[in-house]
Point group: C2
Chain length 196, copies 2
DNA sequence: CTACATAAGTGAAATAATTACACTTATTGT
DNA sequence: ACAATAAGTGTAATTATTTCACTTATGTAG
């Protein structure tokens, strides 16, 4: 799907990019993120340092080869949902699907460990998700017939995109997902209880 | 309160730190963040580059001289609230107070413009708030008699700390605050409406 | 098929943030 | 007064990132 029907040039370009990403991930998992320089990655992939920067915006981006697919995924999830489904339910299903797909990856544990142990990568990962707050918020607003900048839609979008960040520091991911969607559906009864 | 009853050493240290922060802010507002190097700041404050790094963890930190006070502020807000007040109400009050204090600053507009126009600073500001998710979440859990890692408490904490990030990209701050607390109190009725 | 335009890749050099190190100087507590 | 300690200095090294002028491969119009 991604490497089809393209000219030789495009194919070679994609191959180079992939070689760099692969070399980077291998080295990072082997030695740790900070112990690997961009030059190391370039050498391992047999390209120049300049070429690495032609393909990736910076060192952190070498770790996350996805990013863009995510944004469209969320937006599509709400737009193409069955007509009798609420947007909250659609997003709930989407997240669960993403989660299960991620679970079934062999390198998953190493990968998570790499990110958890590298502050720069944690920060980058968080931003990677929350960067799409505006887009998802607008998509939600459109679905519900609200203004594009509707603050409630944006806040809801943000809370949902916070989920990956919430599943760190020894938190149970599935519980975090449940908690977020419970908040969205019913609010926070505990927090609103008064003590008098 | 901050510069009292300290020895000469501590006082000079604080003065140096302040001189650096002041020089940095002045230069950043004048020329823009990227056009000012750490060396420029050091020269303007008449200290060595090394000294700058002794006081601030990095270039971004030069802009945000608060950070730590914020965390304790939120935690105290919930702990010292009147006994007939819910934690949500206490946090609502606290945020509104912070907001009003910030409004009454002469440099506020320039400051906001500086951050909005500098991607690195936006990212840093977001992290600065959400960094305290775990602490505030734990404090909330303790108040409510839940487990320290209770996912709902943590999610609620995160949503509240998201507020500053939500007030960007042409969003109305007060509306964002209202939206977040409405979500916390009653959930998201619009998002849960089904269309059949 | 040829020639030209263009995009990918190269290599070197410049800039700037960040860290390490060995050193001087000022402050503090005894 | 003195020894311990913390603040500050200056230099040098490391490394991410950008810029630039250059080569080479590919695609394409004629």
């Amino acid at each position: 799907m991604t490497t089809e029907n393209l000219g030789r040039r495009e194919r070679k370009k994609a191959a180079t990019r992939q070689a760099i990403a692969d070399a980077a991930l291998t080295l990072f998992l082997e030695r740790g993120y900070d112990a690997v320089s961009i030059k190391d990655v370039a050498d391992a992939a047999d390209v120049s340092v300049t070429t690495v920067f032609k393909h990736f915006s910076g060192k952190e981006a070498l770790v996350f080869d996805l990013d863009q697919e995510m944004e469209t995924g969320f937006v599509e999830a709400v737009q193409t949902r069955p007509s009798d489904q609420s947007v909250v339910d659609a997003l709930h299903d989407h997240i669960l699907a993403l989660w299960r797909a991620f679970e079934g990856h062999s390198q998953r544990n190493q990968f998570v460990a790499l990110i958890d142990s590298t502050p720069v990568l944690r920060a980058y990962a968080d931003r990677m998700w929350t960067r799409h707050t505006k887009t998802l918020g607008t998509a939600l607003a459109k679905e519900l017939g609200q203004d594009a900048n509707d603050p409630t839609c944006r806040a809801a979008a943000r809370l949902i995109l916070d989920i990956p960040a919430l599943t760190r520091d020894g938190a149970d991911s599935e519980a975090a997902i449940r908690a977020v969607f419970s908040l969205l559906r019913d609010g926070w009864s505990d927090g609103n209880r008064r003590f008098n």
